[in-house]
């Protein structure tokens, strides 16, 4: 039993450190994805022809290629163009761009779910288009998009595991390093899986609870 705890302490430390990085990457990439997705969804509302087409192309490309390929292209190809990039920002940019494509569609669906009459009513009381977006449309969009946004955050958290491939020091990266130095293969990988579960499970409960509450409203 004592040996088990010693093992847990020596191996758990670095993994926890990795978990910190995993959380940091998740939050940073989520931020990039939300800002990008919302901005692009709003631009698409304006219906400007070449922009529309460009955004749709971006969305299709990033939604139909593996995130690992996206991260590799950014990490290995930017130096080729003379830009040196560290694993952490490469991971955040790659995951963020990928998420931006996902969330563009999520926000677009959320914006479209709001009846056009709501906007007309806002204009009729003398609001400008910007005011109607700010006070009428967006508050409702948030409510509609929160569950898919939460689900995306969980998917993103899990997707961060792939950036171990470019040596971003998150959970899987540390797990692989610990294995080479300690040979505690089974133990380390179970611990790593458990750690991810501990991070994602509360998030999943939160999303579930919110979805249930929203269903109760309807």
């Amino acid at each position: 039993m004592d040996a088990f705890f010693t093992k847990l302490m020596t191996l758990g430390g670095p993994l926890l450190l990795g978990a910190g990085t995993t959380v940091a990457i998740t939050i940073s990439a989520l931020l990039v994805a939300v800002v990008l997705g919302l901005a692009l969804a709003l631009i698409r509302l304006l219906n400007i022809h070449p922009l529309n087409w460009l955004i749709a192309t971006y969305v299709e490309i990033f939604r139909n290629t593996p995130v690992l390929a996206q991260v590799f292209i950014i990490y290995f190809s930017l130096p080729y163009l003379g830009v040196n990039i560290n694993p952490f920002p490469a991971a955040v940019i790659g995951l963020g761009l990928n998420g931006g494509a996902m969330l563009t569609e999520v926000f677009r669906a959320g914006l479209n779910a709001i009846h056009f009459g709501q906007r007309e009513a806002a204009l009729s009381v003398g609001m400008t288009p910007w005011m109607s977006l700010r006070y009428i449309i967006l508050p409702q969009t948030w409510r509609i998009t929160l569950p898919p946004l939460g689900n995306y955050a969980i998917a993103l958290l899990k997707d961060t595991a792939v950036v171990s491939a470019i040596a971003a020091p998150e959970i899987m990266f540390w797990a692989r390093n610990l294995v080479t130095s300690t040979f505690e293969t089974t133990f380390v990988y179970i611990l790593a899986a458990l750690l991810y579960f501990c991070l994602s499970f509360p998030l999943a409960r939160l999303v579930d609870g919110f979805e249930r509450r929203q269903r109760a409203w309807q």
Binding site: N64, T65, Q70, T185, F201
Partner: protein, 232 residues
């Protein structure tokens, strides 16, 4: 600009006799990996969905726990555990098998939820109404339950295929010899990472995009069907 692009593309032409056959081979492995993991996920997912609705507490508990864990743990962690983590216990898979099993087990959690949603969305009254007009339970399932369930289940299933196709790329990290690994190996040998990763990305896109288009088309069709059904 145009010259740069020409130069960039000419690299593919020069190397194609070397890269081409290897890439074709790897595409085939990727497709096999997708099909294998999806098949496993469907079978496992169906069992889990039925188990989660079971009356036996132990079965229900196990299936619920499995689904939650599968949804909370990255597929990559499952792959590492399967491929490296079980070796000390004497369980050894080859990289393809580990990849297919790992992705399949991971996806099964989602598929189970898809099945469950499909089963539960159909009101009990419909079954009773079918029996009341004299249908046998078999006819009820065949003509009433199944057509509606397919409508609900099909679009998320197709999305799962797309997701799995893209996720097969992470099997490269446990050395399954699929498209991503082959691209990476060729990139390291030729010192042309940008060319090869862009090529790999383009191939994934060519495989995935048609599936996306079909899925969207079916989603629209299904939705129209449902609206008609409920007379809205």
């Amino acid at each position: 600009m145009i010259e740069d692009l020409k130069g960039f593309l000419s690299v593919y032409a020069e190397n194609w006799h070397d890269w081409g056959p290897q890439i074709y081979e790897a595409i085939w492995v990727t497709i096999q990996l997708t099909i294998a993991s999806f098949s496993l996920a469907v079978v496992l997912g169906l069992l889990l969905a039925v188990g989660k609705l079971s009356n036996i507490g132990l079965v229900r508990g196990f299936c619920t726990a499995y689904i939650e864990i599968a949804r909370g743990v990255p597929a990559l962690a499952v792959l590492f555990l399967l491929y490296f983590g079980l070796v000390p216990l004497g369980i050894v898979f080859d990289a393809f098998t580990a990849g297919a099993i790992g992705l399949g087990m991971s996806a099964a959690g989602y598929i189970a939820e898809v099945f469950r949603a499909g089963i539960q969305a159909i009101h009990k009254g419909q079954r009773e109404a079918a029996l009341a007009v004299g249908m046998t339970p078999m006819m009820t399932f065949r003509h009433i339950i199944l057509p509606q369930a397919i409508r609900i289940i099909l679009p998320p299933m197709l999305n799962m295929v797309i997701l799995l196709l893209k996720d097969t790329s992470i099997c490269s990290l446990i050395s399954t010899d699929e498209l991503m690994l082959r691209a990476k190996d060729l990139a390291m040998m030729s010192f042309l990472p940008m060319h090869l990763f862009l090529l790999a990305g383009a191939i994934y896109f060519c495989l995935s995009w048609p599936l996306s288009l079909i899925t969207r088309k079916i989603e629209n069709l299904m939705q129209r069907g449902r609206r008609q059904t409920f007379g809205g």
